[in-house]
């Protein structure tokens, strides 16, 4: 099973609408990262959250970290076609062997329709 679960797996949203993507960890989170990937391209760093309750915003994208729930949410306000792509969350998790590893979720594919 995935250690980082993202939901939903895909999302189709009308332009101008708000949306939320969630990332839930089965283990304690040590830092949570959000990346965006345009189709066929590399990953672009959006933001990093490190403290419980931390909230960061960049333009119309806001991410929050709930350390107790081991969960992060990414919220996009008034979506635009430029927001389309695959959003991935990543986190440093402690493996069963006690070492740290940077793990990514399976991604959420966002489509914006006019």
């Amino acid at each position: 099973s995935q250690e980082l679960e993202q939901s939903p797996q895909s999302l189709i949203v009308q332009e101008g609408k708000n949306l939320t993507i969630n990332c839930t960890s089965s283990k304690t989170l040590y830092g949570l990262y959000w990346y965006k990937q345009k189709y066929g391209e590399g990953l672009i760093f959006l933001m990093m959250l490190q403290k419980g309750g931390e909230e960061k915003s960049h333009e119309k994208i806001t991410a929050k970290l709930d350390e107790k729930k081991q969960q992060s949410s990414l919220h996009i306000t008034a979506s635009q076609p430029s927001h389309a792509g695959i959003y991935l969350c990543g986190a440093v998790l402690i493996s069963n062997f006690g070492n740290e590893k940077l793990t990514f979720g399976t991604g959420t594919r966002l489509t914006i329709i006019p």
Partner: protein, 115 residues
């Protein structure tokens, strides 16, 4: 140009052939990573390196070999390619690792098809 570059961007090979994917970064970042991206699995870590001559296995290392003789280069070799290794491969680098990894900088990816 500064940044992280991967080559080749596209490669088609046959089962059993050896393939090497190159990764070069100009920031002198200590940490470098190789991921593969597959539908339904997201990004999975193959190998990573904390410094020159220091490498370690990730989640899916079988069938892959890495080396890091210089800080700026981190080649990934498939010694005998299999169809299951058809994937998009991403190289990444970061200044730090472990619990304080920070931002990863990704290359544009290498799409490998094994026939």
């Amino acid at each position: 140009d500064a940044g992280i570059t991967q080559s080749p961007r596209y490669k088609i090979t046959e089962t059993g052939r050896q393939v090497t994917l190159m990764c070069h970064q100009t920031w002198s970042h200590s940490y470098m990573f190789w991921y593969r991206q597959d539908l339904g699995h997201g990004l999975r870590l193959i190998y990573y390196s904390a410094a020159a001559d220091i490498t370690d296995k990730g989640e899916v290392p079988d069938g892959y070999v890495v080396s890091r003789s210089k800080t700026e280069n981190f080649p990934l070799t498939l010694e005998s390619a299999t169809r299951s290794q058809t994937s998009v491969y991403f190289c990444a680098s970061s200044e730090r690792g472990g619990l304080y990894t920070g931002e990863l900088f990704f290359g544009e990816g290498s799409r490998l098809t094994v026939l």
